[in-house]
């Protein structure tokens, strides 16, 4: 099995608290992995570390066999490692079309062009219309982000990630904040992803996880406590304990 994305003994502590504690995993093209875990388990931190938004204390990140640990965030994106954000990061004054067009242009190395307008670039617009259509955002193509609902912003966030044509896609809770009526869109978009794309999705909605993932990884307190099939995850004693423990703690704190 060829490996497109690999993490070796990744570690990161914040002020003595090991938030990512010796995490290793490997993914092959076409993998559909769900990363789950209680709140504060370190899932987002893991994404920040592998994408270069945070620097690990130790460990290695490899894309397509190449170590990118010393390469900055933009270099990792250009090598095909793309993420979405748990809390939407979009440009309030830009339209949906502008977001996707900017991603498409950047991917093709044309975002530095100082003349022309993307509306006049038919091949860019075809991709923009296609992607927005797939996520049900056609109507909002020329609307600014500040004018569209949060649920639809979540969809746009995914459209931007897809526009970069990643080889490895890390989705941080793509369905969080999306109304039930729209999660179908996200699921459909996930189902339509290129077959050879490796996807790791962080998600709390277990129905979505079970429909999407062929493999589930459970992170608790910065450590992987389970890595296996969705069937086995609910039966695993440690996983139950981790979730129960977290709820017990939450109850205790409250």
């Amino acid at each position: 099995m060829s490996t497109i994305f690999e993490v070796r003994s990744l570690k990161r502590a914040f002020g003595g608290l090991a938030v990512t504690n010796d995490v290793s995993l490997a993914m092959a093209p076409g993998d559909r992995v769900a990363l789950i875990g209680p709140n504060g388990a370190g899932k987002t931190t893991f994404v920040n570390l592998v994408t270069g938004n945070l620097t690990p204390d130790s460990g290695d990140v490899l894309i397509g066999g190449e170590s990118v640990t010393r390469i900055d965030a933009t270099g990792r994106v250009r090598r095909g490692l793309v993420r979405s954000f748990q809390v939407t990061r979009l440009f309030q004054e830009m339209t949906s079309a502008e977001h996707v067009a900017l991603a498409v242009l950047q991917r093709d190395g044309r975002a530095g062009r100082m003349f022309g307008h993307f509306l006049a670039m038919p091949e860019v617009m075809a991709e923009v219309a296609g992607l927005l259509g797939k996520l049900g955002l056609s109507e909002l193509m020329h609307r600014r982000v500040s004018e569209i609902a949060y649920g639809q912003q979540r969809l746009l966030e995914i459209a931007v990630a897809l526009a970069l044509k990643p080889r490895v896609l890390l989705l941080d809770e793509p369905a969080a904040g999306v109304p039930q009526s729209d999660t179908g869109r996200i699921e459909q978009a996930l189902a339509d992803l290129p077959a050879d794309l490796a996807v790791l999705m962080i998600e709390h909605d277990m129905d979505l996880v079970f429909r999407f993932a062929k493999r589930v990884i459970v992170l608790a307190a910065g450590t992987i406590i389970f890595d296996g099939s969705p069937l086995d995850v609910t039966r695993d004693a440690r996983v139950r304990e981790a979730y129960l423990g977290s709820y017990a703690n939450a109850g205790h704190a409250a």
Binding site: T51, N53, D72, A73, T74, V77, R78, V82, R83, F85, R89, L90, F91, Q92, E93, M94, A97, E98, A101, L102, A103, L105, Q106, R107, R110, A111, G112, R113, M114, F115, G116, H117, F118, L119, A120, M125, A129, G133, S138, E139, M141, H142, V160, L164
Partner: protein, 335 residues
């Protein structure tokens, strides 16, 4: 093509048509105001030319501050560097053809932009502002000390440009300089409209709002800002050169903190992040300065301060930004 995509394509095309219309309108306004200025103040063309040169500085500042969110109180460094580059080329190297001088000034401004960009872009927010202030003082002091080249505090005098295109003398009334300035401003304005709407312009707007998002798209915010700084330097350098050609001297005031701060005031007055805003701010500020300082030479700065406070409090998007916002809302309501 589905109905939705067709409608969108139409909306897009209309948007484009409207933008092109505004480009032409912008140029028409510049040329119209130029003619009006010429007719109204035939004896004060020097002021109008200086206004044009400063407009180039404020446009240049708008590129980095308005479009990219860089905080700077040292932008005259780019303007003054352009002025000195063209002045030194003329006085010390005999490059007196005005267009060649312009090329030297643009280059000088661009190099200064590169240097300032490298320093200023290392920091953000308040430290960035402090760095920019330090830079303008360094530039000023450097020009002061290098008096063999710059004339020091006496200024660099003796700039005698050849006739423009070998034919139009730089006359005593400043007509040629004025026309050169207006053409320069119109060309720069057209080019900048192109740039701010291009993919690069879009990228810069993204950098201003959320550099982390831009990085997650694979683009380097730093590189985009550096490029913009160099372009900004070229524009400011053109302004500096225009001033050098029209006044035939370059003084240390062109590299001053005061000029830097004033250009920021003009930009905020007119409205940041809009080329029209930069032009509006320059025109209003300089006329206001001219009129009020003549009427009351002691308290004119107080009046300028009052005007600025009024604008910041009651029209935070600047004069142009506020009017444009109201117009857009009216159009939106009419739809």
């Amino acid at each position: 093509m589905t109905m939705a995509t067709m409608n969108d394509a139409l909306a897009g095309a209309q948007g484009k048509g409207r933008k092109r219309g505004r480009d032409l309108a912008g140029l028409a306004v510049i040329l119209g105001l130029a003619v009006l200025g010429y007719l109204l103040f035939p004896n004060n063309l020097a002021l109008l030319t200086r206004m044009t040169a400063i407009a180039l500085l404020v446009l240049s500042l708008d590129l980095v501050t308005g479009y990219c969110g860089v905080a700077t109180l040292g932008h005259a460094a780019l303007f003054g560097s352009g002025a000195y580059a063209s002045g030194i080329a003329a006085v010390h190297f005999g490059i007196t053809d005005p267009l060649l001088m312009l090329a030297c000034g643009i280059l000088g401004g661009a190099v200064a932009g590169l240097v300032c960009g490298i320093v200023i872009l290392r920091a953000h927010g308040l430290p960035q502002l402090v760095l920019s202030i330090a830079l303008i003082h360094l530039f000023h002091e450097f020009a002061n000390k290098a008096s063999a080249w710059t004339g020091g505090s006496d200024g660099l005098a003796g700039i005698a440009p050849d006739p423009l295109l070998g034919y139009f003398e730089f006359d005593l009334w400043g007509r040629t300089a004025y026309v050169l300035g207006i053409i320069l401003l119109a060309v720069v304005f057209a080019l900048l409209r192109l740039i701010v709407r291009s993919p690069f312009g879009m990228l810069c707007r993204g950098v201003k709002e959320d550099p982390i998002r831009i990085r997650a798209m694979g683009a380097s915010p730093k590189l985009a800002l550096m490029k913009m700084y160099v372009i900004s330097g070229a524009v400011a350098g053109a302004g500096g050169t225009l001033n050098a050609i029209s006044t035939q001297v370059v003084g240390l005031d062109s590299l001053s903190f005061t000029l830097s701060a004033e250009s920021l005031v003009m930009l905020v007055l007119g409205g940041t992040g809009s080329l029209f805003g930069a032009l509006t701010g320059t025109i209003v500020f300089m006329f206001f300065e001219d009129i009020v300082s003549a009427a009351n030479p002691f308290h004119w700065l107080t009046m300028v301060g009052a005007l600025l406070i009024a604008v910041v409090l009651f029209a935070p998007k600047g004069l142009y930004g506020t009017v444009a916002g109201l117009a857009a809302r009216r159009r939106g309501a009419g739809r």
